[in-house]
């Protein structure tokens, strides 16, 4: 029995499945050949609408998610998407690797499979500024950047920014201690760059994720966020998710990445409150709408950007004693989620009822961007791509 077939997933059954998966991954079974740039898509935004979100609270209740429905109306909805794990971290990682991931108790560690970021960066020979993850996962977020497979790894990882870790009250305190950084005068910045460039580079030191030029661009972006953006001022329930989405929109505009991903978590407040969970969904949908507006207002992005939105798993069918929703009853609400795909390569307004899996997203994104995902165990989402 694979994890996807199980109605009662446990950590231990997943452990066994993980071992089987590792063996299967060693088989020479490429999922598809190297793709020519056959698609119009040049940028992909993958939104892990995660934290455990049921379809009945999103596409099943359109008034909760008017902006997601905007995407659905002009995109494709796959309502029968099976999930690969029932722990937040492992389930989200499974989407990124295309492999049903088993993650143990000490989940603050990297996975063993390459991520979609690594596949895309390596084969397309992209710099780190072309592949981003905006996360609200605490210390786990940076683990999504790359896995431990030696064929890929850190040098092909994503630039990860946890907005709530930087643009938060604590860092505000740092700002209030030192004062906000002032903008550099152009001649001053040029002199700084000249001096930096004059210092010898020790080739014996390992390479960092970003080269000097990209690091300088990211530095400038952070200063701009701190000095000119309202991201820092986002507060209240679900603010971490809102920041992650806000940052993703800004990154799309500034860096125009080939692949950007947003990883959300705040919906897990559902354990204690169903109403708070709905508030998070609505707020995230609002921020999703902002991103959609950004893309649609930019002709180049509008014609070349594909967006995927799906949670890592759903939630229980019935409320718990606290009027909240856990995630462990094995119900269809928990184990089937909706994936919404929007973009220039998808036929608008289509609903595809065929069964699929969250691990299919990684190979689908790779195919759209013309690269292979050789270790992914998913297949391209059915009937999505011609």
């Amino acid at each position: 029995m694979t994890p996807l077939e199980s109605n009662t997933l446990t950590r231990r059954t997943l452990l066994k499945a993980g071992v089987a998966a590792a063996g299967a991954a060693a088989l020479p079974a490429p999922l598809f050949g190297a793709a020519a740039p056959a698609y119009k898509t040049r940028h992909v935004l993958l939104v892990l609408f995660a934290g455990g979100v049921r379809s009945r609270d999103t596409i099943g209740t359109p008034s909760n998610v008017p902006n997601l429905m905007r995407l659905a109306a002009k995109g494709v909805v796959l309502p029968n998407c099976g999930v690969a794990n029932l722990g937040h971290y492992g389930a989200s990682l499974s989407i990124l690797t295309g492999v049903p991931e088993y993650m143990g108790i000490r989940e603050n560690s990297r996975g063993y499979n390459p991520t979609v970021f690594e596949y895309v960066r390596k084969e397309r020979k992209l710099s780190a500024s072309s592949v981003w993850l905006s996360a609200n996962n605490g210390s786990q977020g940076v683990n999504f950047a790359y896995g431990l497979n030696k064929g890929w790894g850190a040098e092909f990882g994503a630039n990860v920014i946890d907005g709530d870790g930087v643009f938060n009250q604590e860092f505000r305190d740092v700002l209030s201690q030192f004062g906000r950084p002032r903008a550099d005068a152009p001649e001053e910045y040029a002199a700084l760059q000249r001096m930096r460039g004059a210092v010898r580079v020790d080739e014996r030191a390992g390479k960092s994720l970003n080269d000097e030029a990209t690091a300088a661009r990211v530095e400038k972006y952070i200063v701009d966020e701190l000095t000119s953006s309202d991201t820092v001022s986002l507060t209240g329930p679900g603010a971490g998710d809102a920041k992650a989405l806000r940052i993703a929109g800004n990154i799309l505009q500034i860096f125009r990445p080939t692949l950007a991903c947003v990883s959300l978590t705040s919906a897990d407040v559902a354990h204690g409150s169903y109403n708070a969970y709905l508030d998070v969904i609505k707020r995230n949908d609002q921020e999703l709408g902002r991103i959609l507006d950004i893309v649609q207002a930019d002709q180049a992005l509008r014609e070349s950007t594909s967006i995927f939105v799906l949670p890592e798993f759903g939630r229980d069918r019935n409320q718990n004693q606290r009027n909240g929703l856990d995630h462990g009853d094995g119900s269809t609400d928990l184990q089937k989620v909706a994936c919404v795909a929007w973009g220039p390569d998808f036929r608008p307004g289509k609903v595809i009822d065929a069964d699929c899996s969250s691990i299919d997203v990684c190979p689908t994104v790779c195919k759209l961007l013309g690269v292979e995902a050789p270790l992914a165990r998913g297949r391209t989402l059915p009937r999505l791509l011609s």
């Binding site: 950590r11 452990l15 143990g104 108790i105 000490r106 603050n108 780190a128 993850l133 210390s139 977020g141 940076v142 950047a145 990882g157 994503a158 630039n159 990860v160 920014i161 946890d162 907005g163 709530d164 870790g165 930087v166 938060n168 604590e170 860092f171 305190d173 740092v174 700002l175 201690q177 030192f178 004062g179 906000r180 950084p181 002032r182 001053e188 002199a191 700084l192 000249r194 001096m195 930096r196 004059a198 210092v199 010898r200 580079v201 020790d202 014996r204 030191a205 390992g206 960092s208 994720l209 970003n210 000097e212 690091a215 300088a216 990211v218 530095e219 972006y221 952070i222 200063v223 701190l226």
Partner: protein
């Protein structure tokens, strides 16, 4: 056996001491500059051992105190010092993720570094206290999490391969009499004690510390010998680590610069720029922000800019009036080496074109070389 296995373990002789004449200093040089009398090689060594033992670069007084000292004496003294034990304690808390809300806050824990420095507490007993604490328990709630973390983080056990051991541990955690790692017990306290007293405890502790310094596993024979020594004498930790740092293998480490962790970076920035150790909350806020990026270097640069824009770090700008001397001093102070002629010329050119000394400091601190040691 790893790549480090062939390295010599001969304990090195005292290094050549400072040969840069005091005359190289500006006549009005501040105290922070007086340490530049150490030659660059020794300066890099002192910086490296202080980072590896204390978790930051030396403070001005420590540079000064290191002058004219024999390398062996200095390392052994530093390894047993209170700052080194404070570094050890903080490293262990971070290793167990006992940070922020889970950081131990009661008196016995606050006193722990001092007790270690006074040889009134061994590393084994210190770790026993840490993993027996309410803070560790809160960090790792429930039998499965708790036992898994004990096995993984104290003994390096892969629990997926040791499911019977895990199940026995969970049973003991829940209060049932059982055998765990070959010993009988029936409480959570028994479980922790059995793990700490297990023969795998010392090798794993030493291996992870060694790997943190050298970036590679220790030779097996060396590890076995050190583990036996620590087991026989639980107070031998500083002596063992000193031997590592006085070895030929450590002498060869500068040939492959090592990255500064976010913890080391923040603490070193305060030491280099402000001449002091950050308060815990100052440190925590900055470190937590840095941890939010997969490549923290751009945010490190922002932090540096904020501090310099705030007018902090004036002392680190030195007092040399001659631009050539100023640039050389700053290279020594921040990068622990003299500038090359082309580097010196490039920086002096910008100064003479009217750029500020603060910008020179920023260029050095935000360069990739400052991110390594």
């Amino acid at each position: 056996m790893t790549g480090i296995g062939s390295w010599s373990w001969v304990v090195g002789s005292p290094g050549a001491r400072g040969t840069v004449a005091a005359a190289a200093l500006d006549a009005q040089g501040a105290r922070i500059d007086q340490s530049l009398t150490a030659d660059p090689i020794d300066r890099r060594f002192l910086r490296a051992v202080t980072i590896d033992l204390v978790g930051r670069t030396p403070l001005p007084a420590e540079w000064e105190a290191a002058r004219d000292r024999r390398r062996g004496d200095l390392v052994r003294e530093l390894a047993a010092s209170l700052p080194a034990w404070e570094g050890f304690y903080e490293e262990e808390l971070f290793y167990f993720l006992l940070v922020d809300n889970f950081r131990p806050s009661t008196d016995p824990f606050l006193a722990m570094p001092k007790l270690l420095a006074d040889r009134a507490l061994s590393v084994r007993d210190a770790l026993l206290q840490i993993v027996s604490s309410q803070f560790f328990n809160a960090r790792n709630p429930g039998n499965d999490t708790f036992v898994t973390v004990i096995l993984e983080q104290l003994l390096g056990v892969t629990v997926q391969k040791e499911t019977a051991t895990l199940e026995a541990g969970k049973k003991m955690y829940d209060g049932y009499a059982t055998t765990f790692l070959g010993r009988k017990g029936s409480t959570q306290a028994d479980l922790v004690r059995i793990a700490i007293e297990h023969e795998g405890f010392e090798p794993f502790l030493l291996e992870r510390r060694f790997t943190a310094i050298f970036g590679d596993s220790p030779p097996k024979k060396r590890l076995a010998a050190d583990a036996a020594r620590l087991r026989g004498d639980p107070l031998a930790w500083p002596s063992i680590v000193s031997d590592w740092l006085l070895s030929q293998a450590y002498e060869e480490l500068p040939s492959r610069p090592r990255p500064k962790s976010d913890r080391v970076f923040v603490r070193s920035l305060y030491a280099d720029l402000l001449g002091r150790v950050p308060e815990y909350q100052e440190f925590r806020r900055s470190r937590n922000a840095l941890l939010a990026l997969s490549d923290s270097r751009p945010l490190r640069s922002v932090l540096i800019k904020m501090m310099l824009d705030a007018g902090l770090g004036a002392a680190a700008s030195g007092t040399a009036t001659d631009p050539v001397r100023f640039v050389a001093d700053r290279f020594l102070h921040f990068l622990a080496r003299e500038p090359t002629p082309s580097e010196s010329a490039a920086f002096v050119r910008e100064l003479e074109a009217g750029m500020s000394r603060q910008l020179v400091v920023r260029a050095l601190l935000t360069h990739g070389e400052y991110q390594t040691y």
